[in-house]
Point group: C3
Chain length 350, copies 3
Amino acid sequence: MNKVFTWMAWIGVPLSVIGSVFHWSALLMFVIYCLTIIALASYMGRATESLAIVAGPRIGGLLNATFGNAVELIISIFALKAGLVEVVLASLTGSVLGNLLLVAGLSFFVGGLKYKRQEFNVYDARHNAGLLTFAILVAFVIPEVFTMDMSDQDKLALSVGISIIMIILYLAALYFRLVTHRGVYQQKSEIIEEHEKPEWTKGKSILILALATIAVAYISERLVHTFETVAESFGWSELFIGIIIVAIVGNAAEHASAVIMAYKNKMNVAVEIAVGSTLQIAMFVAPVLVLVSLLFPEKMPLVFSLPELIAMVVSVLLTIVLSNDGDTNWFEGATLLAAYTIMGIGFYLL
Amino acid sequence: MNKVFTWMAWIGVPLSVIGSVFHWSALLMFVIYCLTIIALASYMGRATESLAIVAGPRIGGLLNATFGNAVELIISIFALKAGLVEVVLASLTGSVLGNLLLVAGLSFFVGGLKYKRQEFNVYDARHNAGLLTFAILVAFVIPEVFTMDMSDQDKLALSVGISIIMIILYLAALYFRLVTHRGVYQQKSEIIEEHEKPEWTKGKSILILALATIAVAYISERLVHTFETVAESFGWSELFIGIIIVAIVGNAAEHASAVIMAYKNKMNVAVEIAVGSTLQIAMFVAPVLVLVSLLFPEKMPLVFSLPELIAMVVSVLLTIVLSNDGDTNWFEGATLLAAYTIMGIGFYLL
Amino acid sequence: MNKVFTWMAWIGVPLSVIGSVFHWSALLMFVIYCLTIIALASYMGRATESLAIVAGPRIGGLLNATFGNAVELIISIFALKAGLVEVVLASLTGSVLGNLLLVAGLSFFVGGLKYKRQEFNVYDARHNAGLLTFAILVAFVIPEVFTMDMSDQDKLALSVGISIIMIILYLAALYFRLVTHRGVYQQKSEIIEEHEKPEWTKGKSILILALATIAVAYISERLVHTFETVAESFGWSELFIGIIIVAIVGNAAEHASAVIMAYKNKMNVAVEIAVGSTLQIAMFVAPVLVLVSLLFPEKMPLVFSLPELIAMVVSVLLTIVLSNDGDTNWFEGATLLAAYTIMGIGFYLL
């Protein structure tokens, strides 16, 4: 798997530069950009992982929790710079739906084909359920309902206030998990698992992280400008591109590793990737983007479209109902995948 | 109980024919039709049950799961044929509310008057909770929100897509329960219970099922044409007839047996009837009706009125919160009945 | 703590009379009234508590459950008399949010700073979760959705019907907890805790309760007439005064004792105060106010504004998700407080 991504990156980056210099067709470039970013994201994930192991569990957890969705963050910042507020909100929605329904669904389904029942830490599941409820059902729903008759200025004030509270609570959650309650809700066997060897040295990891970040930034800026053409060519809405394509591109490598973990019966890790990534998107990437958007002419309030919001709300409720017993099987995976398909059709027709 | 239904059927069927030939008053015929269908539904239930026992657990489960709401399906098809799309949606809503709140509520309440605490299989409860969430909170809510500004054609396309996914997932759920995970989540004592003797032979069951189906079809076609007169006479809306009357008529026999099971402390069976029937309505009858409606001039998209949808959503949430501990008592029953009464008043005043 | 309230009451009551006779400024009087009511509410709480102990658990439970929010009830009746229907609905919302998010949040947080994990009776939590779901998600949501296109008369009819059902179910819940299922869901150690000595004799308790009630009534009538001036002076909406100020004033003493209980690791009591008080507001005070409003020219239907309703709905969902494992820690408290802050900002900007 890693080899494929290595090849894709080594071919994709030069192709991206050449293609953009010689003005190849937007459609072709869209495909090249997407594949290259997928490969680079995999690199960044491995570098972050190595750094995290070197840095020890506390700083490592912090690194994973903040850089884990760096690619998504970078693409979104360039999209905000290009004034594509709706696309950014859509890609945030897409990441939440993709992680909760597609990644968790595939993990449960594929894992469940091999094992009759798989288990994961029920305390983590409940902790995550609380955060998901806070992030989506409170922090995303409240501005939607309260800003209906609000001036744009108040709308932004509420969004900024909520964003700051979300970031603080996200950091508090890290402090809770990594410092005050480290291991409190885990069994001993689970804690031992954590002693791993880093793939790369500290220096190499930082170098790769830096180079890949620059490359992703370069490509992202070009990628967002192909959206309009692609949308027209395929008859897709920009919303659909944001929700399905950007979300999948930004998270593909991560998605793959979650499914592999599920197949190895490491359900704790698979769930952690799927739900942890969702929480990072909702409680860190989204509010940071709201604050970053203040630097650009087009501000982004934390107000999703109603279909986006409702899709996220029901996904969270479905995830909580399915996962709060800490037990999974292929049918729970199928249910999540069915929900993802329904929403995919819905967003396609919207 | 069965004797009463036998008499009702033997008197009701001829009366229905005579009355419809001699054009008796619509009000009288409405009452005769309803009582006769209740009696015939009981017959069909017993025939399906006998067939299911003969056929073994796998095919039997499939039979129960598809023919269990045959009466409701038949009435609804004739209502669709008569163009009464709103009445069909209302009667689907009524069946969901009736099963989740009235049947489960009466079962918990009546059972709870005799036993301080009653228990049912908590794994089944969770499996059902996942399906209820999928069916109502995802598959019913998504089209409501997404089709607000959609063309009628896209609305129907989304409805058909969702319906096909629901039917596939419903069949997958049967495959899960009857094949891959049969007994996995059950205690041994529960499995042994299943060896029963059929009431009727295979041949007799099929004959009765066939004759009763023809009779129900004949009467249903006439029944739906009395709605308008009845609605006018009593000052009821057709919606109210659909939600309260049709739903109760189609499920009366089943309702009675759930309460009897609860009184015998067979809570697993009572819950299975109430929730299983809800799932069958939501995940099989409703999508099948959407597909069947394509044959008629008046198509039925899977879009309920907002009060119908919200009533179903809050009923599902209440059911999940009350039942996910696998423990019931009279007060939980009273809570469900109170919720049903509130919704009844609401739909009456609508 | 009690001493402070005693001083506040002995100074506050005469000041309230003098100030109102000599027409001191509305702002000053608003502050005096609020502080005096907080002190008197503490007195009434202690008197009710003493009476409850003398009267034994059954009648005592009934007393606590009906007089526990007497102050809120009295203020609201005078607000209804003054035609301030929106303020009353807002203060009901504020009490629900304040108890579920602020009081429970502070209790979990403060208790969690001292203890890594705190536990409370999980059966009580589930019983309360069912009632919260019924009260907020069914009884408050249904009239909101169903009355959208209703005449004012039907709106009131539905509200009265729901109110009567809520009061009956609330009494049934008391009967369940105090009579039919007393101790059924508790451990022995928890039951023994209940033998306490009353602070005051029966006669003194009744006298204090009577005098404090008269004083609260006198001051409340004057308090509600200062709202307009205060709202103008501070640029607050009357809604904001209702949601934040009235709710805090009516419950301050109770709030303090919940947090103290959490700090003493008596989590059962802390949760009982927070959630029990919410249920009393939602299932007893709110419906009683609907019925009382029938005596005044301005009737109060049970229809909240959409932001109020959604804020309560998501608070209930968050509470249920966080508390259904019977385990708390500082982070769960922080999550509830963050949700309260978000809603506070929202209502301030509304």
